[in-house]
């Protein structure tokens, strides 16, 4: 492919043309490194304005990659965010000197979106204080670089909790509001981005603006689920709720499609407070269902449990015993299942997180299981988000792709309740066009298990999953980010060009997170 050179101080054309990936097995995620033109003048300007900027590999090296571990790049310098005024000074100077700014929250992207390929990296984790908890109105005002887990720590002291957040402990509020944020209660409470009541945003030209659905609504709509294109989120007001421990139930299926049908049935009927699917193997699918209160649990037991087609643990063990007794040549599979059960199940049952039959601090229990059993130095987590009616097809096709590329993998499926009044927020986002009521997300996660795979292998796998999305007119719930090369293919030129025009207007020098979408 002939990639035209980038003019110093300007943003070149997208190196990945809309159709560039067709028939190409591997697409390098790294964009070209910014050439550094005018860097020293920029550094002098920001330092003169009192902004601390660190250079050198000791300061920059820790940002060399993101959780994905496949895209590598380094900034020229790092600024740790301290307040909106400082961020504003930085962005004004960056506009004037045409220096790219990459914002990083928890750095949990997997396609290099929070990796700086030159320019400044703005580390938001320095702005991580809770500013005010309003227990009466159930809202919290917080600096946006805070990790959801740290927010939960503070809320818990007041016996409160956030509504929904990614299950990984170290994603930040700001990073998540721009991406989505799916939890096992999203089928009921929506994605994290829908919990934002208002935001303080520093625009790419350095204005500090408060926005919400009522105030500067257009900016709010673009910043929420906007992948950091239209401003740096410096503070957020979020809805919160009283803390509750959970009563958990697990049902086991040997068919993915049946489990998904049951999941969607529960969601449609508001039968549970938490619901999700986690597969161990194609023939061992776990539907988890949980409740915030005894009343909700009792109502589920009375009205819905009997309609589930899954088994309890003992019933499923018997079922599997029968299955493998008739297929002794598949003993390896049975052993893997057993070994996985022994490794993973105790993690969800640790006594220090259970009291009186209820699980406390579920986000910790789930997240540490995620890091322990699915974490690795390379995290390849492509995903698909579809309307409810095409979800089974998307998942089954994605599952077939996983089977082709890896011996073992896990699928994680959840519903995402949509808020009709938030339709403008959803444009060109993880919410698939055409979804009504609920969108459904499935994440496809290979088990790396100490194996070494080439980047080509990972990339080909991701392409194969993303291609399903293009084919089905789906979106991506951005668990793992979406490869830039797919944006136009998924959303179409007209929509992307409209957003590009808005971006150019808001960010004339195209400095902010410029390699992520456009």
């Amino acid at each position: 492919m002939n990639i035209p050179p980038v003019e110093p101080g300007t943003v070149g054309p997208c190196p990945v043309a809309p159709d560039a990936l067709q028939g190409i097995k591997r697409q390098q995620t790294n964009p070209a490194r910014w050439n550094g033109a005018g860097w020293q003048d920029f550094v002098a300007a920001v330092r003169a304005a009192g902004v601390e900027l660190a250079e050198g590999s000791t300061a920059c090296g820790m940002y060399a990659t993101d959780a994905g571990g496949t895209a590598y790049g380094q900034p020229h310098g790092v600024v740790v965010a301290r307040n909106a005024g400082q961020v504003s000074t930085l962005l004004r100077a960056a506009q004037a000197h045409r220096v790219p700014v990459t914002v990083r929250g928890g750095g949990l992207t997997t396609e290099g979106e929070s990796v700086a390929f030159g320019g400044v990296l703005l580390d938001m984790s320095g702005m991580s204080r809770v500013l005010n908890i309003d227990a009466q109105n159930l809202t919290v005002r917080t600096e946006a670089g805070i990790y959801w887990h740290s927010l939960a720590e503070e809320l818990r002291r007041e016996n409160l909790d956030y509504l929904s957040a990614p299950l990984n402990l170290t994603s930040s509020v700001g990073g998540t509001l721009g991406v989505g944020g799916i939890d096992v209660n999203s089928a009921r409470l929506g994605c994290s981005a829908d919990q934002a009541v208002s935001l303080q945003v520093v625009t790419p030209t350095g204005e500090i603006v408060e926005c919400s659905d009522d105030e500067n609504a257009e900016l709010f709509q673009r910043v929420i689920l906007g992948y950091g294109q239209f401003g740096v989120i410096t503070e957020a007001t979020l809805r919160i709720r009283p803390y509750t421990p959970l009563a958990m139930h697990y049902y086991y299926y040997s068919s993915l499609a049946t489990a998904i049908e049951d999941l969607q049935m529960l969601d449609r009927n508001d039968a549970s407070d938490y619901s999700g699917i986690l597969t161990i193997m194609d023939c061992a699918v776990n539907l988890l269902v949980a409740f915030d209160s005894d009343e909700r649990e009792a109502a589920f037991k009375a009205n819905w449990e009997a309609r589930l087609r899954g088994f309890g643990e003992a019933g499923f063990a018997l079922c599997m015993l029968g299955h493998y007794a008739l297929r002794p040549w598949r003993i390896g599979e049975a052993l893997y299942l057993l070994q996985r059960k022994q490794a993973v199940f105790p993690e969800f049952r640790r006594p220090e997180f259970h009291r009186d039959g209820k699980m406390h601090d579920r986000s910790v229990v789930f997240s540490r299981a995620v890091w322990k059993h699915w974490g690795s130095r390379q995290m390849v987590i492509p995903d698909l988000a579809t309307p409810a009616d095409t979800f089974i097809e998307a998942v089954e096709r994605g599952n077939a792709v996983c089977r082709k590329y890896f011996p073992h993998y896990t699928l994680y499926c959840v519903g995402i309740k949509l808020r009709p009044e938030h339709k403008p927020h959803y444009e060109m986002s993880c919410v698939p066009p055409g979804a009504e009521g609920w969108a459904y997300g499935c994440e496809f996660e290979p088990m790396i298990e100490g194996e070494v795979y080439s980047r080509d292998h990972f990339q080909a796998f991701k392409n194969a999953i993303y291609d399903i999305g293009v084919d089905l007119g789906a979106s991506y719930y951005r668990f793992g980010g979406m490869m830039k090369g797919y944006i136009r293919r998924v959303f179409g030129d007209a929509l992307v060009d409209r957003h590009l025009a808005m971006k150019r207007k808001a960010d004339p020098a195209m400095i902010l997170n410029r390699d992520v979408i456009f």
């Binding site: 090296g61 820790m62 740790v80 320095g126 204080r129 740290s150 601090d361 974490g375």
Partner: protein
């Protein structure tokens, strides 16, 4: 929390940031360079100990980062080693060895903080009913803390006759080190040992706020998380544990305030005498050492 087997080193750091969530140094600086992750990543980029002197100095050795690291990096060990490499740390510990062998049976190695309060030491000794070692390795503990070099003959003299015995160790950094040096010894921290004394356990009440000594707890996390969960279930008292069941240390007043934020205890009970003083400065309720409970 993921495993007690710490064997890996800084190259294994994946940058997951889980260690930041529990690190008091990170909480006070909110700068990634002041975190175990920042140190590990800087080392991956070839930084020297001298370049990392500020965060190395700011680390309190609370050990909270060790059990949460999914890559099982011995982060406290890494930081201790780096402190040893700092130029100003090149002091050798070599104090006169006390004469005669240590008495037979279980031994209490009180450590500097407990020795500084003779009345409390007498109480602890009475409650545990064990002899106090004349040589409690306080100088070695200090060297571990400051990064000073430890003279090999001095180390040998201190350890002579200790392996295979039951030892209650007041200084938690020394306790951590003794686990490596004395594989056959039965080692306990002061808090764990006193917490198992019936009269103390009975006097802990549900309105108490119990402050676990972070260093001792994190150094033997997998086992002690069960011990303290049992203590909490028996007594009903709240503890200085965060949502991950990691202990928040009262290393300074800011951390002590964070520890107590949103809690309204009637009384605070500490394992570590040094934390008693810091907590007294920020709390408006009585702060007692565990050993003082017996007479409270």
């Amino acid at each position: 929390m993921y495993s007690s087997a710490h064997s890996r080193e800084f190259p294994a750091c994946s940058g997951c940031s889980l260690c930041r969530l529990v690190c008091p140094m990170w909480r006070s600086h909110r700068d990634p360079r002041f975190s175990p992750e920042g140190l590990a990543k800087a080392l991956q980029c070839g930084a020297t100990a001298a370049e990392l002197a500020a965060p190395l100095d700011a680390c309190s050795f609370c050990g909270a980062c060790d059990p949460v690291c999914p890559e099982r990096i011995d982060l406290t060990g890494m930081i201790m080693e780096l402190r040893r490499q700092l130029p100003q740390s090149a002091t050798t510990v070599n104090v006169p060895v006390p004469p005669g062998p240590a008495p037979a049976g279980a031994l209490l190695l009180p450590g500097a903080a407990l020795r500084a309060d003779p009345a409390l030491l007498t109480r602890v000794k009475g409650l545990l009913g064990i002899a106090v070692a004349a040589d409690d390795g306080a100088d070695i503990a200090q060297a571990l803390e400051t990064g000073g070099a430890i003279d090999t003959p001095r180390q040998r003299a201190f350890l002579r006759g200790l392996d295979g015995r039951t030892l209650v160790v007041g200084d938690a950094l020394l306790l951590r080190q003794l686990r490596r040096w004395l594989p056959a010894a039965r080692l306990q921290g002061l808090g764990e040992a006193l917490g198992n004394v019936g009269v103390i356990r009975r006097r802990l009440a549900s309105a108490d706020f119990y402050v676990i000594e972070a260093r001792a707890y994190h150094a033997d996390y997998e086992r002690l998380v069960g011990h303290y969960d049992g203590l909490r279930a028996d007594t009903g008292c709240a503890m200085n544990l965060d949502l991950q069941r990691i202990a928040i240390p009262a290393v300074d007043e800011a951390e002590a305030r964070w520890m107590l934020q949103g809690r309204r205890p009637a009384r605070i009970v500490v394992e570590n005498p040094a934390e008693r003083e810091i907590l007294r400065r920020v709390a408006d309720v009585p702060v007692l050492h565990l050993a003082e409970l017996a007479e409270a």
